[in-house]
């Protein structure tokens, strides 16, 4: 899977895909599928819905490829379609939607994979990060998801959210600060005594 594609690559691939180049389209899909899935899954916490939405997004992108304005960033464009599709779906399923905060976080934090890959300390760390993320506002989480789940640059996010890049950098800085504060008691190397409700001594060294 190509991991090092940049904006010029996207433009070139889009131009080829417009003219029916299947390979170019496949490269785009393979590059963006894990990113879109990670974003959607982090937002809705529903793997099946995330899969369905990824497929919908690509169908929509393919249908609108002729309208794509190459002056804009492809990353922002495809993420805008993704976010709009997710919002539409959430509105449609509002009565059945699964809120990010309340579902499956505990299950994910306690997954066997976490145990296998990092042991109790890593699991404790993940659990703490989950809790810290839950303490953020939705807009703050969205910024982190766009930046760290999808891997968008701040320029992409700026174009996508139509906010100045400096504002986003400052907000991101503040959000990281909040996370550090929440995570501090869980840091094994931090001498401070744990005082958070999620603190569990069992996982500490």
């Amino acid at each position: 899977m190509p991991d090092s594609l940049e904006e010029p690559d996207f433009r070139r691939l889009v131009a080829s895909a417009r003219w029916g180049d299947d390979h170019a389209w496949r490269v785009l899909v393979e590059h963006w599928t894990p990113r879109l899935f990670a974003f959607l899954h982090s937002r809705c916490r529903d793997p099946e819905l995330s899969e369905e939405l990824v497929q919908d997004v690509f169908v929509k992108v393919a249908q609108r490829l002729a309208d794509y304005d190459e002056r804009g960033r492809f990353s922002s464009w495809i993420m805008l379609i993704t976010i709009n599709r997710l919002r539409d779906e959430m509105r449609r399923r509002s009565r059945h939607a699964r809120p990010v905060e309340n579902e499956t976080l505990g299950a994910l934090a306690g997954s066997t994979q976490a145990d296998a890959e990092g042991g109790p300390a890593a699991e404790e760390s993940r659990r703490a990060l989950d809790g810290a993320l839950r303490s953020l506002s939705d807009a703050e989480r969205e910024l982190l998801h766009l930046r760290h789940a999808v891997g968008l640059s701040f320029s992409d996010i700026s174009e996508l959210l139509r906010e100045p890049r400096g504002t986003l950098l400052a907000r991101h800085h503040r959000v990281l600060g909040k996370l550090r504060v929440v995570l501090a008691p869980h840091d094994p190397k931090n001498p401070q005594e744990p005082n958070g409700p999620a603190d569990e001594e069992g996982g500490r060294a």
Binding site: A17, E30, P34, F37, A38, H148
Partner: protein
């Protein structure tokens, strides 16, 4: 895993820490126009932890992303503009062909050689020149023109510049705008 309480400006760009970043080119992100240096706003360690955390969540979902990408590519490729154009023209062309064939058969049936003119003992069909009435000719002409207009519309949608020239060579009597 060491983490500090105080924001720690780092000399390492967060972009470089993120393996998923589509804009890894340091020239495009580290010192962008606008004067902000991203590394001054970041915390590489925490950001790497976040990226890993989201990646773990994604893989913990149990979804095979490669298989998903294959399915998605297969399902969406037919929606690409060029494919839509091709399928529409294919569909349009087959409809036109069917219509022309129907007209031809009707014309043969109505105006073909009378059965009394052919010797009954002969099983061979003798073709005779067919003179179609003006109304049928007009209909067929209309149909052809309609087909040309549709082709032109689709070609414009797909941006085929020299389609007018192709049409002009096919239909010299038509009023096409061939620049070459």
């Amino acid at each position: 895993m060491k983490r500090c309480n105080q924001p720690k400006p780092s000399s390492v760009s967060p972009m470089a820490m993120d393996p998923h970043d589509p804009n890894l080119n340091p020239n495009s992100s580290a010192e962008p126009a606008g004067g902000f240096v991203e590394s001054a706003f970041g915390d590489p360690e925490l950001e790497a932890q976040l990226a890993l955390h989201f990646a773990d969540e994604s893989s913990a979902s149990g979804v095979d992303l490669s298989a998903l990408a294959s399915r998605v590519a297969l399902a969406s490729v037919e929606e690409l503009p060029s494919r839509v154009y091709r399928s529409r023209t294919r569909r349009g062309a087959s409809l036109q062909a069917a219509a022309l064939l129907a007209f031809g058969l009707v014309a043969l049936r109505l105006l073909g050689p009378a059965s009394t003119e052919a010797p009954e003992s002969s099983s061979m069909f003798v073709a005779a020149p067919i003179v179609l009435p003006e109304t049928i000719l007009a209909d067929m002409d209309l149909l052809t023109r309609d087909m040309v207009v549709r082709e032109r519309t689709f070609s414009n949608l797909s941006g085929v510049a020299d389609f007018e020239c192709e049409l002009e060579s096919l239909f010299p009597e038509g009023e096409f705008q061939c620049d070459s």
